[in-house]
């Protein structure tokens, strides 16, 4: 289905509603993302922010509303899902690297099996991205031999290997020890400068201030407020955002 919206909107979410059983997890979400935009989504835990971005690559099914990703409307359709997942990649809170495969095999898996690249091409590309996240020397090791920060950088490299148009980050630093957070954020800042479309669910407000084009605040399954970084922090309108900011910025 073609959209009549502005063609530069790479993601278009309208009237999205999702339930888990009786629990109304997402309520009437409307948002759009332009190509190259960096969006940060924040909010208290259980506010539906992870659920929202997991709907974008159809890891979660939704009951009402539409999501259009680069011109393709998301339905429970094997071909469409495969197409969208090859254009949208995701970085998880717990890395979710495949522990039985070496680092380089982790990276080349999707190119080989989903994008039908040759083993050699895939490997070459994998090494290139490993170099980009500064971890090339670990290529033949296995995930459990690396530190959390290294694992998350590998996970980012893995999601770059499929040359995605959009990257989703689901709290990429929440499971990391404090001293490892910055190495991952550095890589993400690098990526943001490279012009890729990003949606990040994160509590790293410093990161948000530095690179986000827009920050979205969610609570109880709704988008409460969205704004550019400067006004988001300076002039929060809703009480809930003020409360949230006061809690998160005091320490």
């Amino acid at each position: 289905m073609e959209t009549e919206n502005n063609a530069s909107n790479i993601i278009e979410i309208s009237d999205l509603n999702k339930w888990y059983g009786d629990f109304h997890a997402l309520k009437n979400i409307n948002m759009s993302v332009k190509e190259g935009e960096i969006i940060v989504v924040c909010g208290p835990s259980g506010s539906g922010k992870s659920t929202l971005i997991r709907c974008v690559n159809f890891l979660e099914k939704f009951q009402e509303g539409t999501i259009v990703v680069s011109g393709t409307e998301l339905t429970d359709d094997a071909q469409k899902i495969r197409k969208i997942r090859s254009e949208v990649s995701m970085v998880f809170q717990h890395f979710n690297l495949f522990p039985h495969l070496s680092i380089v095999d982790n990276l080349s898996l999707a190119p080989i099996w989903v994008h039908n690249e040759t083993k050699e091409e895939a490997r070459e590309k994998a090494l290139k991205f490993l170099e980009r996240v500064d971890i090339k020397e670990q290529a033949e090791k296995y995930p459990n031999q690396l530190s959390g920060g290294q694992q998350q950088r590998v996970a980012i490299a893995r999601s770059l290997c499929t040359t995605p148009k959009i990257m989703l980050f689901d709290e990429p630093t929440s499971a990391l020890d404090p001293e490892m957070i910055s190495e991952v954020l550095d890589v993400m800042v690098e990526l943001a400068k490279g012009g890729i479309t990003m949606i990040c669910v994160t509590h790293e407000m410093g990161f948000a201030r530095k690179v986000a084009n827009r920050i979205i605040f969610m609570d109880e399954g709704q988008i409460v407020e969205e704004n550019d970084p400067i006004n988001f922090f300076k002039n929060p309108e809703s009480d809930r955002l003020q409360l949230f900011l006061s809690q998160i910025l005091t320490h």
Binding site: N17, W19, G21, D22, Q63, E64, T75, D76, D77, A78, Q79, K80, I81
Partner: protein
């Protein structure tokens, strides 16, 4: 709650979209599987009826009413059902069922004590005891249980003496080729009162426990109840027993010229089967007990000591509840295995369900589908009941976690 059903989703889709829709695919895949399996059953059952007709085999359950016409090794099932060759095939079913249950019952009791003993011995700090228990487990676990059944049965047939030369235990019990001869209890009128007294004793004990627990909760005064419990459970029936003039006597087996007369004969088939199954299953129960005890963190014992509990209290309140949580489920599973393995009696002719009914009756009647179906249903019923029990236990014992 909002739920879209498959129809509302499918509406208005093009053919290509239908082809790739995951819901539609899942639906058709399931329908196809269903049809495949239904088709398989249809063919199988069609063939079955054709074959049955071609071979002139009877169908239905009327054979259950027919005369069985064969002897069954005399054991509990025969006595309880008053079995004679004139009895019906249905009676054979009951005889077999009773004999299965008695093996399971006696076997479970023996294997529990044996397993508990070996499992605790395995963890003994006495080097020799621990090694012996380990040796027991390695020895009996790694020999197929059917071989063990044959072996013990063979000991009766080939090694134990003729009845004339029976091993005698103080002239009360005798052991020979024909089995074990025990004194036969003869219940006289009034003995039922003793049994009632026993049951009443147990009920009173439960109430007493509740009372003292409540007292403990309310006043903080703890009362030891072991003495009272013994008095109620054992003393009460004993008093009745004496008051009624000992309404129980024993018929002892007496060594005659050629054979033992009187007493209660326990056939060698039963002993070999029960012994082999108990010995074999005990190796698994011992391991379950051991892993249960080992699963309790060492820190728990230290913490219990640190808050000032005595050794007994620590065992009763801290260690055992955690150890049992690990040990009980596999132990119950082993009870089930023992019960299922009792069907190996077929090999030595102990007349339990698979031997008497699934074996002899099947050979005579030939209605394999009905007979094996009935036998399988019995085992399934036992298995499912035990699974249900396990689920309940697991639910009650589960420790709430985040």
């Amino acid at each position: 709650m909002k739920q879209q059903n498959i129809l509302s989703q499918v509406k208005g889709l093009t053919f290509r979209e239908l082809l790739y829709n995951n819901e539609v695919r899942a639906f058709f895949f399931q329908v196809a599987t269903f049809l495949l399996i239904a088709g398989l059953f249809y063919t199988i059952i069609g063939n079955l009826f054709d074959n049955i007709e071609a071979r002139g085999i009877h169908t239905g359950f009327s054979f259950l009413k027919n005369r069985a016409g064969f002897d069954i090794l005399p054991f509990l099932g025969n006595y309880l059902q008053d079995y004679t060759p004139e009895s019906s095939n249905l009676t054979v079913f009951y005889v077999g069922l009773i004999n299965t249950l008695i093996v399971a019952f006696v076997g479970i009791i023996i294997t529990t004590f044996l397993g508990l003993f070996i499992g605790i011995a395995r963890l003994s700090n006495n080097y020799l005891v621990a090694k012996l228990a380990g040796g027991y487990i390695e020895l009996f676990r790694n020999i197929p249980v059917l071989l063990q059944i044959f072996f013990w049965y063979n000991i009766f047939i080939n090694i134990f003496p003729h009845p004339k030369k029976s091993f005698s235990f103080f002239d009360i019990a005798f052991l020979n080729q024909r089995g074990l001869y025990l004194p036969k209890p003869i219940l006289e009128s009034g003995f039922s009162l003793v049994i009632i007294a026993f049951v009443v004793g147990i009920i009173l004990t439960v109430f007493m426990k509740r009372y003292f627990n409540k007292k403990h909760d309310e006043t903080g005064v703890y009362t030891r109840t072991l003495g009272y419990s013994t008095l109620l459970i054992l003393g009460l029936p004993a008093v009745f027993f004496l008051l009624l003039g000992s309404p129980l006597s024993f018929d002892l087996a007496v060594l005659g010229k050629f054979n033992l007369k009187g007493g209660m004969q326990v056939v060698p088939e039963f002993i070999a089967l029960t012994f082999a199954l108990s010995v074999y299953t005990a190796t698994y129960i011992a391991e379950a007990i051991r892993s249960g005890i080992e699963a309790v963190d060492k820190g728990q014992k230290e913490a219990a000591a640190a808050i000032g509990l005595t050794q007994t209290q620590s065992l009763k309140l801290i260690i055992l509840p955690q150890a049992l949580r690990v040990a009980i489920p596999p132990t119950i599973n082993q009870y089930l295995n023992l019960t299922k393995n009792s069907s190996l009696a077929t090999a030595i002719g102990y007349p339990e369900l698979m031997s008497a009914f699934g074996g002899t009756v099947l050979n005579q009647v030939g209605q394999a589908v009905e007979i094996l179906g009935m036998a399988m249903l019995v085992y399934l019923f036992i298995s499912l009941s035990i699974s249900l029990l396990l689920n309940i236990i697991n639910k009650r014992m589960a420790i709430p976690e985040r």
